[in-house]
Symmetry: C2
Subunit: 369 residues, 2 copies
């Protein structure tokens, strides 16, 4: 629990409890599924009066639009609400740079805000320093929020943070396999390896990433739609870019009204493909296969997170879920850290497992361009 | 918590608490690792005076020796302890039949025991009815023990109970595989797929089963010792029968002083092999591979429980953990119920997963003899 500097506050129901509630609300606002994903972080902001009453809310709606703090201040002004002496609760440290919009830290100071609660430091060297600027201007700045809310604030923009640090999008690879590592039966049939709950989880993943990537081979065989759908078949409000990668002719993806844009990346090199996607403002790629493309990304050290949807089934034959990694001896096996194991239980009681893993750093692979 | 009929008892510290403690002790006695496994159930017995004080303990030490109740009564007699009016706490319903030893229910009645607490009903039709016999003789019989202790009592003899119901030993199959279903790398190397904690678990399994079974192929390639060892290399007090199965010449198992007996089952038919082992008094077989033998047992419907030790590694090539099941289409995949997922974490922090699964009943496979 955060230790606040103001004495006499009741953490459950007083202003501190109100600030926690406001942060939860700001996180919801930031994650609004109608906001298109892109090169900017998702941010939410709630303004509270000193008694903990909500004065205004705001969030960032994508590149070129107002930042969350500016959005909230504008809404307060439009409603004729005085924010002097108010508290601003934000999911990300207010920025200090002037891009297409002005610096938010300066806007909060100018509006007479007296206290700012911040869930996550801005890792962007260009925009950071907001907390220090606010403190220098005499505002009370609180970065000590509950750990679960801080984790949600970090999770919200992990693709963006990863790209800031590495210059390429975050890559989550997903495979669905039987216990014996098969992605299809001997006759090629693969619908369905996993149950409805696992497949629904994949659609949520697609809606949470900004890009879905498959190889031309998989696109040609499966003709996937690569949309993010709900279990009733309707589309999620946010659809990922549908990227197909490979040097062969680009197969047609299944045409679906409301699906995301599609693009053909004419390369077999994971680094080149990710550079291209980064240049397009993409920050989180869901790599959905096939086995050869997954192997290429693993060999290139370009998989940041691996999700394995493991079905409690055995096939004994059929296409393996993973292509050749060039590994011949057990000592050279690609090691991963197991981060999480979660059951994915469908309405019929059938349970698949979702394993979340992170490949351990390896010797860099030779360049493949 | 069990509802006892006698009023005024304190469940924590009075006679009822003493009975729970006595049952825990009886379960320990029954599971004594020095007792050789075999065709008889493991049973423990503790005698308490009406205040909850322990009068005597006993357990069954294997076929041909005294049953647990008779053992406890004999020890009380040897110590000159009067057991009239005492409570007998037993892990299994006292038997009613005369085999190589007399019926235990009759012995308890004759000794003047007034109350009997029973953790598990005897499923053996030849020996059952002990509780009714005791009640008819005026004894207070309590079958309502805490669920966790009842489960331990069932677990203790699950191979024996399975064999009573089916006429063949219980079969637990174990495989160790990478996330992509490989049991070895392309060059055949497989030491080690899993970490020390998983390997230690296998040795505990061997000590808990009465038979370890491998195919002649695996025995020839790996020359395993098939012993149950502790992590320091010493042998567990109880060693399983080491069975090698196949019609080819029987390869030599690694000679280890103190290892269990070894036997060559000259058949490829799982049903025939299990009938042979049952005739030898075996009730719980640990099937350790290889992939072809596992596939044969799965096809024959002869795997009751599958343990998958899943290593967070990828190989991309190498021998699959499971041979051909004759399945060509995804709709015919062998489905299993996932019963448990447990992490097996080694001292170096590395975690493998142990999945416990039960194959769902299938259409019976054609006879293979």
């Amino acid at each position: 629990m955060p230790q606040h500097r103001t004495a006499g506050r009741d953490p459950g129901t007083g202003p501190q409890g109100a600030e926690r509630e406001a942060l939860r609300r700001a996180l919801e606002l930031a994650a609004d599924p109608r906001v298109p994903l892109g090169p900017n972080p998702r941010v939410g902001c709630v303004l509270l009066d000193p008694t903990g009453r909500v004065l205004a809310e705001g969030f960032h709606r994508g590149a070129g639009t107002a930042h969350a703090e500016a959005d909230a201040l504008a809404r307060a002004a439009a409603d004729g609400v005085d924010v002097a002496g108010a508290t601003a609760v934000v999911t990300l440290e207010p920025c200090t740079h002037t891009g297409r919009t002005g610096p938010c830290a300066q806007a909060l100071i100018a509006a007479g805000i007296s206290r700012v609660v911040i869930a996550r430091r801005d890792p962007n060297p260009v925009a950071a320093g907001g907390a220090a600027l606010l403190r220098a201007a005499g505002l009370d700045v609180d970065l000590d929020v509950p750990a679960d809310l801080a984790a949600r604030a970090a999770e919200l923009n992990r693709g963006w943070e990863h790209a800031l640090g590495t210059g390429r999008p975050l890559v989550t690879a997903k495979i669905a396999a039987t216990l014996d590592g098969r992605a299809a039966a001997a006759d090629g049939s693969s619908r369905w390896i996993t149950g409805p709950a696992a497949r629904e989880e994949v659609h949520l993943l697609r809606a949470a990433c900004d890009t879905v990537l498959v190889g031309t081979g998989t696109a040609g065989i499966d003709r996937p739609s690569l949309t993010a759908r709900r279990s009733d078949g309707t589309l999620h409000p946010r659809q990922p870019l549908r990227a197909v990668m490979g040097t062969g002719p680009a197969p047609q993806l299944l045409a679906v009204e409301g699906a995301g844009e599609s693009v053909h990346l004419r390369t077999r090199d994971p680094h080149a493909a990710l550079a291209d996607l980064h240049a397009r403002g993409r920050r989180h790629v869901l790599l959905e296969g096939g086995p050869t493309l997954l192997a290429a990304f693993l060999r290139a050290g370009c998989v940041d997170e691996l999700l394995v949807h493991l079905a409690p089934k055995l096939l004994g034959a059929g296409a393996p879920a993973l292509g050749d990694l060039g590994i011949t001896s057990i000592g050279d096996a690609l090691d991963l850290d197991l981060l999480d194991v979660a059951p994915l239980t469908s309405a019929d009681g059938r349970t698949d497992l979702q394993l979340t893993l992170r490949p351990r750093p390896r010797r860099p692979a030779p360049a493949q361009r």
